[in-house]
Amino acid sequence: MDTTTLRVLPCGDTALLVEAAGLDDVLALHAALDADRPAGVVDLVPAARTLLLRFDPGRTDAAAVERAVREAKPVAVARSDGELLEIPVVYDGPDLADVAHHTGLSERDVIAEHTGHDWTVAFGGFAPGFGYLTGGSPRLEVPRRAESRTRVPTGAVALAGTFSGVYPRSSPGGWQLIGHTDLVTWDVDRDPPALLRPGVRVRFVAVEPGQPADSRTARTAGGDA
C-alpha cells in the first residue's frame, strides 16, 4: 500500500477519516499506527474501508496526524498470528435454510463451510463486544435480511455480506442467524471484557444441543495452534 495515495478526509476539527482500498489495507494501516501511536491520537476506529483517527487538538493538529498517516509503514497483518478462540455453536438458527438457499449449499455444507475456515476479528463497532469476523469461507456471502429483527438473542451466530459475527447480547439486528453459542463473548466484569478483539482468530465448532457444558467451554491456544 502506498500511503501517499490514501484519501484523507476531514471529520470535524478533531478527527481525520482515512479511506483505503479495502479491509486489508485498513488493518495494515491500523496495525502500524496502533503499534506506533502518533502523539495526540486518542482513538483509532477501523472499519471495512476506513480508519478514523480522533486526536486531542491540545496535543497535535490535523496536519501532523495526516503526516503520520502518510509516513506510516503498514505491514500486511498476518492472519495466522492472532490468538485462537474456539466457539462452540449449535447450528439451529432460523435463517439456516435461507442461507442454504442463497448460497446454493445444503444446510450441512453451510455448517461445514462455517466451521471449516478460521475467521479473524477485523474490527468492532455495532455493539460492545461485537466483532466483525472476516476471512472465512467466501462461499458464505449472503445479504442482510430484508427486514431486521427487533430482537436477536444473546449468543446468536450470524452472517451478512462476507462477515460473520456473534451477538454479544440481545439487540435488534438484520443479519442471517445460523446458530447460537452459550459462550459469553462480552462481560464487563471480566478482563478482557471482549473475547472478540481485533486480531483474534476464531474457529467455530459444531456441537449438539445439550452437549455437556465443559466441552462447550471455549479454549484459547497460542499462535501456532
Binding site: 476531514p10 478533531t14 495526516e66
Partner: protein, 314 residues
C-alpha cells in the same frame, strides 16, 4: 465516605465523567458528559480533577440530600438552584450542610445541567469510566429515587474562586460551526448550500445519542451504500429521509449513513444544550486548513515532508 441521597431524578439524570476513550476496537464509544465544558467547569469550581464524575441533570427536576456536609457546584443549563430551601447561584461554589436538600429546577434555556460534588461521585467504574452510556448500556443505571451516590475523598486542593461564568446558552436560535465532509461529496451541491443557509429545528427525538433535526431535505447526489465507518460527536449523519441527525456523546461507534458535515469540537457542547424546538443554523467554520478533499491532502502544510497533495492519482 459521605454521599448523596437521590430524592428525585427529574426527567433523566445520569452519572457522567469524561468517558472511556480508546475502546472503539471492541465497539465501546467514548460517552461521557454531553456538555464536556460544563462538567469540567463544575469540577474546577469545587477543586476536583476535571474528569471527576458528576450528575448530568436533564431539564432540571433533580433533588438530592447531602449525607454529610458537601461542597458542590451547578453548571450548564442555568436552572434555578436551592440549597436547604434558599436560592443559590449557578456556576459558583455552594456549601451544603449535612442533611440539607439541593434542588435543581427546570432551566429557562438549555437542556443539561451538571452537579459536581467535591471529591467526585464514586459509583463503580466500568472500563475506566463512571459514565452511563445510554446506547451501549454501560456504566451506572439511570438515577432513580432512593439511589445513594457515594462521594470520593476530597482532593488536596481547595476551590480557588467563588464562581466562574459558564458559557452562554442559546435561547431560541443557535449557530453552530461545521467543517464540511467527510461525505459531502455524496450529496448534491445544493444540499450543502441548503445546510449552510437554511435553519433546522431540533425535534423531540433528542437524547444523549443525538438530536434528530427537521428542515429541508438534503438530497444525495447518487445511489449507493456506504460501508459503516467511524463516527464522531457533532457528526451530521443523513439517513435516507434526508433529515440530518446531530450525534452527541453516546453516538454509535460506527454508522452506515453518510456524514455531510461535522460540528467543530468547541461547538458540540452548545449542541448538547439544544432543546426541542430550538432553531439551529450551521455555518462553515473558519479554519486555517481549508478542506479540499478532492484535491488529495486535506490539510495543507508548508513544512510537510511526505509527498502529498500534488501528484496523487485522482
Amino acid at each position: 465516605m459521605t454521599g448523596l441521597d437521590v430524592l428525585a431524578p427529574g426527567p433523566l439524570a445520569t452519572v457522567q465523567d469524561l468517558g472511556r476513550p480508546g475502546n472503539a476496537g471492541i465497539g465501546v464509544g467514548v460517552s461521557g458528559a454531553a456538555d464536556r465544558g460544563s462538567l469540567r467547569l463544575a469540577n474546577r469550581l469545587v477543586g476536583n480533577d476535571e474528569d471527576a464524575a458528576c450528575v448530568e441533570v436533564t431539564f432540571g427536576g433533580f433533588v438530592a440530600r447531602a449525607q454529610g456536609p458537601l461542597t458542590v457546584a451547578v453548571t450548564g443549563a442555568p436552572c434555578p438552584v436551592t440549597v436547604a430551601g434558599r436560592g443559590a447561584a449557578p456556576d459558583s461554589v455552594l456549601r451544603v450542610p449535612a442533611g440539607a436538600e439541593i434542588r435543581l429546577g427546570a432551566p429557562p434555556r438549555g437542556l443539561r445541567s451538571y452537579l459536581a460534588v467535591r471529591g467526585g461521585l464514586a459509583p463503580a467504574a466500568v472500563l475506566g469510566s463512571r459514565s452511563t452510556d445510554l446506547l451501549s448500556g454501560l456504566g451506572p443505571q439511570l438515577l432513580r429515587e432512593g439511589d445513594v451516590l457515594p462521594v470520593g475523598p476530597a482532593p488536596a486542593r481547595f476551590p480557588v474562586v467563588d464562581g466562574a461564568p459558564g458559557r452562554p446558552i442559546a435561547e431560541a436560535e443557535a449557530t453552530l460551526r461545521v467543517v464540511t465532509g467527510p461525505r459531502d461529496d455524496w450529496f448534491t451541491s445544493r444540499a450543502l448550500q441548503t445546510l449552510l443557509t437554511e435553519p433546522y429545528i431540533v425535534t423531540s427525538e433528542c437524547d444523549r445519542v443525538g438530536a434528530r433535526l427537521d428542515g429541508p431535505e438534503l438530497a444525495r447526489a447518487g445511489v449507493g451504500e456506504l460501508p459503516s465507518e467511524g463516527m464522531v460527536p457533532g457528526a451530521l449523519q443523513v439517513p435516507p429521509s434526508g433529515k440530518p441527525t446531530l450525534f452527541l456523546a453516546d453516538h454509535p461507534v460506527t454508522g452506515g449513513y453518510p456524514v455531510i458535515a461535522v460540528v467543530v469540537a468547541s461547538d458540540v457542547d452548545a449542541a448538547a444544550q439544544l432543546r426541542p424546538g430550538t432553531r439551529v443554523r450551521f455555518v462553515r467554520a473558519r479554519t486555517s486548513h481549508p478542506a479540499t478533499p478532492r484535491s488529495g491532502a486535506v490539510w495543507p502544510s508548508a513544512n510537510r515532508s511526505a509527498p502529498s497533495s500534488s501528484g496523487r492519482p485522482s
